[in-house]
């Protein structure tokens, strides 16, 4: 049965990131989640698999703590999840990530479509789908807002900055989807309970025989500080607050 593979990343919830006064970054209190945009990739895989009578499967490359993601991913309609459990994931760049994912895809049978999100909500590099395509030497369509599989062909609508493009792609192929492609539903209680019984296939780094050495080196991480005036009118009557704001905007010369 044709497999549609949705790639996802287990990421730090950026809302929990704290920046210390010295601008160092504190991730210690941050919870983790499936990257928001990847939920759309999973849903697109589920919808496509349903439409063609195929099998939607998940694929993730993460450290030991990505195990926590499996049940969540499986509750979103995937039939099984492939989990590359490797410490190398902690330092992985775009190259290592794509090499790992592509190596796992090669080990699966009958894959005819790989769906990624445009970018992960932590790094938002937007490299994974095109890089996987290159490593496998499969055709790629990025910025996809609509997709349909008929036989051995994918028809995709790409939303670029200046136009919409309809492209036809020979399968197997890799696509990256925009978040507007669908609205992933919240898993039902039944789906959450069923997720625990679904199969997980685990790969170790050694099994994959892929180049997981990062090609980019992170030299520094610093909290981003936006210097703004931060003049907040919070007391008094609304009418006076508005008066002060209008006076300030006039002084700025923007109204």
């Amino acid at each position: 049965m044709a497999r549609i593979v949705a790639c996802y990343k287990w990421v730090v919830d950026e809302a929990d990131i704290r920046i210390n006064p010295d601008r160092s970054v504190d991730l210690s209190k941050a919870k983790k989640k499936i990257s928001d945009y990847d939920k759309c990739a999973i849903e697109a895989a589920v919808q496509t698999a349903t439409a063609i009578g195929g099998k939607a499967v998940g694929l993730t490359f993460g450290t030991a703590d990505a195990r926590q993601s499996l049940k969540d991913a499986l509750s979103r309609g995937l039939e099984e999840v492939y989990y590359i459990n490797a410490e190398e994931a902690a330092q992985a760049d775009g190259a290592a990530t794509a090499n790992a994912l592509a190596a796992a895809i090669k080990k699966m049978e009958e894959v005819n479509l790989v769906i990624c999100a445009e970018g992960a909500s932590d790094t938002y590099q937007r490299q994974t789908a095109p890089r996987i395509g290159a490593v496998l030497d499969w055709p790629v369509a990025t910025s996809v807002s609509k997709l349909e599989v008929t036989g051995n062909t994918l028809t995709a609508v790409r939303k670029l900055d200046d136009c919409l493009q309809t492209v036809k792609v020979e399968l197997p192929a890799v696509v990256s989807v925009l978040p507007e492609i669908n609205n992933p539903p919240i898993p039902t209680l039944k789906a959450v309970l069923a997720a625990g019984k679904k199969p997980v296939k685990e790969f170790s780094a050694g099994e994959l025989n892929a180049d997981l050495v990062p090609k980019t080196r992170v030299a520094d991480l610093q909290g981003y500080v936006m210097s703004r005036k931060n003049l907040i009118f919070k007391d008094g009557e609304a009418v006076d607050q508005v008066k002060e704001l209008v006076a300030a905007l006039k002084k700025e010369g923007v109204i």
């Binding site: 490299q127 990025t142 792609v169 981003y224």
Partner: protein, 301 residues
């Protein structure tokens, strides 16, 4: 020849990257895919312009051949304008080369056989500095470098394209009203808006200011109150108006990335702790249903 190889489907970004290469003391080699662009870019300071001939209309389809060209020529860097086509081509080339890549960099500099880049991660909360060794790929948004002038040689080259993908149809995007990224003033609505009918309040404020209306991702993609091209943020529009006023926008980092280049940022929200106020020049903590009508009235006076 070695040097910085450059592509952008936006000529002004290509010209800026050529400016960067020259300021770094490198040869600038520009790839173009049609004669018109070759002509327009003739005096942009590139030492060499490759006019690529091939069988595909999609520049991304040449990734494999471009990777091979870069390797054969001993290229030092493939620097690409950060647009949807550019990001796609750049990452595919990096994949074929199995080399390092930094996406959407805010700074780029050249060291001893190294490239130093900075970019924003975690939805805008953190700035990451990366070092790339040897042949590497970067994508660069517009406005980072100064263009230069000067002419170089033009060379025709034929490259093989991936024929497994073909272009069936191109349609212009029907923008409803002006382009948000070019708007001088923007009123932005967020999830604090209670009902779809209340969009009228935003429309009235926008009319009083002569502003375009934008929104957060939730308004466009969860509630469908505005079309997707109206949402501002890391995966949506990135704007740089003179004035940005938000109503009921909490100011999640993904949204703030889209507004950080605004000249003046104003937030109106009922929650004093909303992160929008940390990102704002001016703010009013209050009920927007009370504040905005007063603001419209004051602006009309």
């Amino acid at each position: 020849m070695s040097g910085v190889y450059i592509f952008s489907d936006k000529n002004d970004i290509a010209a800026e990257i050529i400016g960067f290469a020259k300021s770094a003391g490198k040869d600038a080699i520009l790839l173009v895919f049609d004669e018109q662009t070759a002509k327009v870019m003739g005096n942009s300071g590139a030492d060499k312009i490759y006019l690529v001939n091939g069988e595909s209309e999609l520049v991304e389809s040449y990734a494999r051949s471009i990777a091979q060209l870069l390797r054969e020529e001993g290229a030092e860097l493939f620097a690409v304008g950060a647009t949807p086509r550019g990001r796609d081509l750049a990452a595919r080339v990096a994949g074929y080369l199995n080399c390092g890549m930094a996406s959407d960099v805010s700074t780029l500099s050249c060291g001893d056989g190294q490239w130093l880049t900075q970019r924003i991660i975690y939805g805008g909360a953190v700035q990451q500095t990366e070092v790339l060794e040897g042949l590497a790929v970067v994508t660069i948004p517009g406005g980072k470098f100064e263009p230069v002038s000067g002419t170089g040689e033009m060379v025709n080259i034929t490259l093989a394209a991936d024929r497994r993908i073909s272009l069936e149809e191109t349609m212009p995007i029907g923008h409803q009203g002006a382009d948000l990224s070019a708007a001088e003033k923007v009123v932005c609505v967020g999830m604090g808006l209670e009902k779809e009918e209340d969009m009228q309040l935003a429309k009235d404020l926008a009319a009083a200011l002569g502003a375009e209306i934008g929104c957060t991702r939730g308004i466009a993609e969860e509630r469908y109150w505005l079309p997707a091209e109206r949402y501002i943020g890391i995966s949506g529009a990135v704007i740089k108006p003179k004035l940005y006023i938000s109503m009921g926008v909490s100011g999640q980092v993904q949204h703030v990335v889209g507004i950080r280049d605004s000249q003046v940022i104003v937030g109106i929200d009922i929650n004093e702790k909303a992160p929008i106020f940390a990102a704002a020049d001016y703010g009013i903590v209050g009920d927007m249903y009370e504040v905005v009508p007063l603001l419209i009235k004051a602006l009309s006076e």
